[in-house]
Amino acid sequence: MWCPPDKGRWGALGLGLLCAWFIRLCGWEPFLAIALAAAVHELGHYLALRIQGAAVTGLRLSPWGVVMDCRRERLSYGGEALALLAGPAANLLGCAALCCLPSPPEALIGAGLVLGGFNLLPLRKLDGGEALCCVLSFCLGPERGEGIAGTVSRLTAVHGAGACLFVMLRSGGNLILLPALLLFLGECLIRKPDQTL
């Protein structure tokens, strides 16, 4: 999960509410599965950054998860994209490793895949969106790259918000998707198009 460094003021409170909401609606077991998957995800980011020699300056809580602060001066666009994609890759590798167990925990495998897959959405708050921005910036230059990544992000957010609303209205419930809807709406309505890394 990526988050602008100056947005973490209410992070702990927001994350606490998100966890409480999830536990209330889904129970402890799925929550623990997601928490473990999130730990593996962040470990992937951490290892990728350390391998590239980038200093990790701390962990912060954001309303959508844990945020890893780092110094990016030593990272190229490619290196940053790799560090961003290392989280979902760690989830994938973790799931593959769990499959080797005699009786694999299917729910844990699914949680890792869902978390990794969600983070690959091309949304600027998520790893996928930031990695796309790095790749586009490398190919087209920072200005055009960020512009296109921002547009893709907003389009993704509009479709994501629509999908969440559709599911909630169609099923008459599934309020578990409410935080995701807020994330998408926030990206649609609040984020400035020219916001930079």
Partner: protein, 319 residues
């Protein structure tokens, strides 16, 4: 992951201590932060007052909204089942299409029997108003008694009786949830009870849920048996789904000819795989108490397309 922001700005001491307002006594001295906090306070207070006023003026409407919100909060996908479906697809234990069907079932038909959605039911979402119907338990018991007696007189296996269907006298049709048929259907194929000789521990119809405590419709019959007792297939057919969910535990669905299907839930193990052909009387699972169950039993459902049939006519043995 985020970049580190260098050189954080620190507010001046006067702004942090807020002594300007105290010294001057002017409202104009509020900092932007204080104004924002004041606006937040007023907004929150206003919302609270509005809720209290609405509750006092429109108590019935408020109770209705509260009920709707509670219903919506209870009608959630089984996240653990969704994760398990994804995990099974990743391991190659089930096909991607099967997993997508399971996920679709969990998302759009939460808490429902998987069989109806998987087999292309027209969808029962919203029906019954989230179990809004209230019925006396006594009536349900009377019906169960009548249905068991009637079933005992018809057949417990073998060929389908070609006689007239037994009417359900104690449930008026408007009292039933959509997609439920109490009358006996003529199946048109040979069948056998999945647990011959087992006692019915819970009948088809309204009942007080043994775990949740609320009155709700029970869409199948529960047949009590010891854990590990072999569950045999109701009739010839093919296994269309093998899965696991929080509520149903380990289950399988078998499609039969004529658009009928049977569901076997709370199993300790499923002994056949998805897609395999099965015959009447063949072992397909073992009795267990997986999912939401208070003891070992088989939850057995019979479906005609998207319609739930009362299985009692086909599973109870005479005498």
């Amino acid at each position: 992951m985020a970049g580190n922001k260098q050189g954080r700005r620190v507010a001046p001491a006067s702004a942090r201590t807020g002594n300007r307002r105290g010294q001057t006594g002017r409202k104009a001295g509020m900092t932007p932060g204080e104004r924002r906090h004041m606006a937040q306070l007023l907004l929150s207070g206003g919302f609270f007052v509005l809720l209290v006023v609405v509750k006092l003026l429109f108590p019935a409407k408020m109770a209705q909204w509260s009920g709707s919100i509670s219903d919506a909060m209870e009608r959630n996908m089984d996240v653990a089942a969704v994760f398990s479906s994804v995990g099974r697809a990743f391991r190659g234990e089930s096909s991607v299409s099967d997993s997508l069907q399971e996920v679709w079932q969990e998302v759009f038909h939460p808490g429902e029997s998987p069989a109806v959605a998987v087999l292309g039911g027209a969808g029962r979402e919203g029906q019954d108003g989230g179990e809004s119907f209230r019925r006396s338990l006594v009536t349900g018991d009377l019906y169960s008694w009548m249905a068991v007696s009637a079933a005992a007189e018809t057949a417990a296996g073998g060929e389908d009786p070609s006689g007239e269907a037994v009417p359900a006298a104690f449930y008026a049709s408007e009292d039933l949830p959509d997609g439920v048929q109490m009358e006996q259907a003529v199946l048109g194929f040979a069948y056998a009870s999945p647990l011959p000789g087992a006692a019915v521990s819970s009948s088809f119809g309204y009942r007080e849920h043994p775990v949740q405590g609320e009155e709700s419709f029970h869409y199948g019959v529960d047949l009590a048996a010891d854990s590990g007792t072999p569950v045999t297939c109701f009739a010839d057919g093919s296994v269309t789904a093998v899965g696991e969910s929080n509520s149903y535990g380990k289950y399988l669905i078998v499609a039969h000819e004529g658009g009928y299907a049977t569901l076997y839930a709370h199993c300790s193990a499923v002994t056949v795989s998805s897609g395999s052909a099965v015959e009447k009387g063949q072992e397909v699972a073992k009795v267990g108490e997986t999912g939401i169950a208070t003891g070992p039993h088989l939850h057995f459902e019979l479906h005609d397309g998207s319609t739930y049939l009362n299985p009692i006519y086909y599973v109870v043995s005479a005498g």
